[in-house]
């Protein structure tokens, strides 16, 4: 029994190392000097650690040079876009809709429709969305991308919050009704407060999915020059395309800048997020 447990620990440790290794490798590449990056066999523990990859552009040959620190303006764009899209879709659209669907309209078919909308691939609607955004002349703007991001974060948050509202006992609302609150007051003052964990999960997950989104950003805010509204994944992909075979240290550094915010939030909010990530199939 004891030997079996040790074996299980050994296997689990090995598995954990496999999951950790790509992250470790990216971190360690970003800290290596250029000489140690391009070495065969690859160096697992660098003898020299440098932070220069984060701000020094190593290219002498190309006119366009980027660094991880150069991604900061993109991060600001990403933050604003993800934040506005998340707040609008969670509070203005998803919360009242989820409450209405669970308490007043109670249609199984509408619930199924919402679930279906969360599953639509970005590639399906990318052309129509491009046409719509172009029509209202919002290409290459924050608002263009915000509108499009609402398209996937609204049904997702609605679906997630429906589960949470459903867990609120109706007796609480009945008591509030007896106290003379109107249905809207009950929603806003009572039920909405009771699903705070759901709201937190919806905000974090929708922020992360907006932050990570690539395809819509590629199409809606693509312009050859750094325009007013380009997000971090776009910065990173164009960086990758240019530097794929050259500035690995710099690329890895930019990768760390991109993933760090979501990774930190994710680890600390882990318990809140499991239910949302699995579209409600995990109740935790």
């Amino acid at each position: 029994m004891k030997a079996l447990n040790l074996l299980v620990i050994a296997i689990l440790t090995l598995i954990s190392l496999i999951y950790l290794f790509p992250i470790y490798w990216t971190v360690v590449t970003s800290l290596k000097t250029n000489i140690e990056v391009f070495t065969h066999p690859p160096i697992l523990f660098p003898s020299q650690i440098t932070l220069s990859n984060f701000y020094v552009s190593v290219n002498v040959f190309r006119a366009v040079s980027q660094t991880a620190v150069g991604s900061i303006p993109w991060m600001i764009d990403s933050t604003i876009i993800a934040f506005v899209a998340t707040l609008v879709s969670t509070f203005l659209i998803a919360a009242p809709a989820a409450y209405a669907l669970v308490r007043y309209i109670k249609s199984v078919w509408l619930a199924r429709l919402i679930l279906f909308m969360t599953m639509i691939p970005e590639a399906v609607f990318v052309v129509p969305f491009f046409i719509i955004v172009a029509k209202v002349s919002l290409l290459n703007t924050w608002w263009g991308l915000i509108l499009v991001y609402i398209s996937f974060s609204a049904p997702f948050s609605t679906w997630l919050l429906m589960g949470f509202f459903n867990d609120v006992p109706t007796s609480v609302e009945e008591a509030a009704q007896i106290d003379g609150l109107s249905p809207y007051q009950i929603f806003y003052r009572v039920s909405l407060r009771l699903v705070t964990p759901g709201i937190i999960a919806a905000i974090i997950l929708s922020f992360i999915s907006c932050w990570n989104e690539l395809l819509y950003a590629l199409v809606i805010t693509y312009s050859p020059f750094p325009a007013g509204a380009q997000t971090v994944p776009l910065f990173l992909t164009s960086f990758i395309i240019v530097e794929k075979s050259f500035a690995w240290g710099g690329l890895a550094a930019a990768g760390i800048f991109t993933m760090l915010p979501t990774l930190i939030v994710g680890v600390f909010a882990q318990r809140y997020l499991a239910r949302g990530l699995t579209l409600g199939s995990v109740k935790g």
Binding site: S16, F125, P233, I240
Partner: protein
Amino acid sequence: MQRGQALKVGLVLASPIIVYFVAFFIYPLFNLLQNAFTSSSGGFTLANFQAMPSDPLLSVSLSNTAYYFVGSVALEYSVGFGVAVLLYTYTGRLKSIFRTIIFLPLMVSPVVIGLMWLLMLNTNYGPVDYLLGPLGLGSTNWLGSQSLAMPSLILANTWEYSPFVFLIIYAGLQTVSPQLYEAASVDGLTRFQTFRFITLPSIRPSIVVAFLLNSIGVLKGFDLVYVLTNGGPGFSTYILSFYTYVVGFSFFETHYAAAVALLFLAIIGTFVFLMLRFTSVEEYLGLRRLRT
């Protein structure tokens, strides 16, 4: 509250999502249908659909998608399921640390995952190449070879998505009632028998949901292909999501792109249909209970 009044309150609260629904679902869908069934001169036509069987790139993309789908789902499912069962049998103090580590890939942006695997899979300087060197696979051009690009993509995708399967199965395992296990040990079942006849049937819903959600996630994927291989070398990693994008934004064939997008939507729709068939939305929301 009276029925009519309840409906009124419901509609007021749902009015933003109704606007949303028209703007972000009905209108784009109408736009797709309109484009798919018209020619560039504007007349009604079925040509966009009739062209599909003879489009070599579409058939390549579909067979690549099948390869990518079967490979990824099979690998992700077995890894995710195996790790979940393993962690479930382990009862020590390191449990939450293991759980957190396996959770990490879900929080990394897919573009960064692409970058990570570019670094990992690089010929000569990447660790994967080095580790497999003793097997005679050193100096292999993982992403640049027609036959290895897809397996490489599946590998990266497995790193990204197997934790997702893990999460669902692991949570399912935790809901199995301890009383069932007590009964099993009273009846003298072996560990394997307990797993086969008690655990597995109890987590059946999780098994199905994990499979279907994972399938849809794999089909939706775009970022990894875009960053790691950009469809290449040749057309060996063109998958449906990537092809839909290429038709629209590299070939600029808006009408044909709409037809391909509808085909893609139909495939996803089939999976969603299966999911609704085998699992119950009502159960999740308790709607059936509420209605009575």
